[in-house]
């Protein structure tokens, strides 16, 4: 039962601050996201630059890069996920304690990027783990990473505890561990985790007509 705004502002006038549990949790998680110290390629250097002096991720309380997945809440997949590295990435994501988020930073992490046609490159990490925010760019500027972290904070801010809209880590039977692919003779087995990887079936061509009628 979310408290309605009218009553809340009324109480506020009297000096009583009503803070439902949900907002307290979200505020706590939002304002102290500890990313996992996990860099793959060039985007990792831009991630370090965003934690460096000029762009300073510390202002958001997110500069504590924890080396162990047990104490991290955010995995920033910064760089190309190759097929040889994919099992390790999924295992790391499984090892993180539950209210965990994932940012796919850079074209390579989203879709394999410029190296899409390589034989050893995974076409995007969301074939195996659910990704919350995608940042296009090769590499995205440090401001783009900070903008993404603010987008993630907005997403955390409106998570709810009510029955219907609960995030996955509140209900018992939702998966918090994702299948780790095995090394096959020619490719990873399986090539994608079907529960996580669901491309849209209908693809509509956007043509000139959409330009004419806005």
């Amino acid at each position: 039962m979310a408290i309605d705004e009218g009553l809340k502002s009324e109480l506020q006038k009297q000096g009583i601050f009503v803070l439902p549990f949900e907002q307290l949790y979200n505020w706590g998680r939002k304002s102290s996201i500890w990313p996992l110290q996990f860099g793959l390629a060039c985007c990792a250097i831009e991630m370090i630059a965003s934690a460096a002096s000029r762009y300073d991720l510390a202002r958001f309380g997110a500069e504590v890069f924890r080396a162990t997945p047990r104490q991290a809440d955010l995995m920033i997949v910064a760089g190309t996920v190759t097929k040889k590295m994919a099992p390790q990435v999924v295992r790391l994501y499984n090892q993180m304690p539950e209210p965990k988020y994932c940012i796919a930073m850079g074209a390579c992490a989203i879709s394999g990027g410029p190296f899409k046609d390589g034989y050893n490159v995974l076409k995007g990490i969301d074939r195996y783990i659910p990704v919350d925010v995608h940042i296009p760019g090769c590499p995205p500027r440090p401001e783009a990473l900070i903008h993404a972290i603010m987008t993630l904070q907005r997403k955390i801010a409106n998570q709810h505890l009510e029955k219907g809209q609960r995030p996955r880590w509140y209900d018992k039977n939702a998966a918090s561990e994702y299948a780790i692919p095995a090394f096959g003779e020619h490719d990873l087995q399986p090539t994608a985790n079907r529960e996580v990887w669901q491309p849209p079936r209908d693809y509509r061509d956007v043509t000139l007509e959409d330009v004419k009628k806005p």
């Binding site: 050893n120 090394f183 096959g184 090539t191 693809y203």
Partner: protein, 198 residues
């Protein structure tokens, strides 16, 4: 550095049994190479390394190149060694050695005992091209995972199917995306059918 022909004579005298030819590069590059047969590449390499006139003690680059069989030429895998001399600061001597493309006969004597620099690069040539180096201390795959069986950098390698979401397909990705029933712009699918009909 003397002219390449002179080097060829010196090498021929030093290792009489070796069959050495000269292959020249593009006219502008002026880096002719010495093609040596498989049995004597080790002896020639040892000569260039120890001979006081050359002292080639720095093996800079080891590359495998896959030549597909053509109408006139039969296919082969060529391993190219670029040797430099740190002591006398001399330009490259390029040694080439060829091996047939079939996996079981693709064997070349390793030069790692002469130059430690070749260790990783020969392992990479084995991993990506399938050239087995006899005498290499630790011939394992270096870049691909151990359970991988193919040699992916060969010209006739076909990567596994992975074309489910292709918003911008072109020529062969378009071909493979249509075969695997991937999701792509409908106009691209019609275009391909039309081209097939023609």
């Amino acid at each position: 550095m003397e002219a390449i022909e002179k080097i060829k004579e010196i090498a021929a005298q030093a290792v009489p049994a070796a069959k050495i030819e000269i292959i020249n590069s593009t006219p502008a590059a002026q880096q002719p190479a010495l093609l040596v047969d498989r049995e004597h590449i080790y002896a020639v390499g040892k000569f260039f390394k120890e001979d006081p006139r050359f002292q080639m003690d720095f093996c800079s680059c080891v590359t495998a190149v896959d030549y597909l069989p053509k109408a006139d030429k039969s296919g082969c895998i060529e391993v190219v060694y670029h040797l430099y001399s740190v002591a006398q600061k001399q330009g490259p001597i390029v040694l080439k050695v060829r091996a047939p493309r079939e996996l079981d006969q693709c064997r070349v004597p390793s030069l790692t005992p002469l130059w430690r620099a070749c260790e990783f690069q020969e392992r990479e040539a084995y991993d990506l091209y399938g050239v087995k180096f006899d005498g290499h201390p630790d011939l394992r795959r270096i870049l691909m995972w151990d359970e991988f069986v193919d040699h992916p950098m060969r010209k006739d390698y076909v990567p596994p199917p992975d074309y489910e979401w292709e918003p911008t397909p072109h020529d062969d990705t378009l071909q493979r995306a249509v075969e695997e029933g991937g999701i792509m712009p409908p106009t691209a699918r019609e275009e391909l059918e039309k081209a097939k009909k023609k």
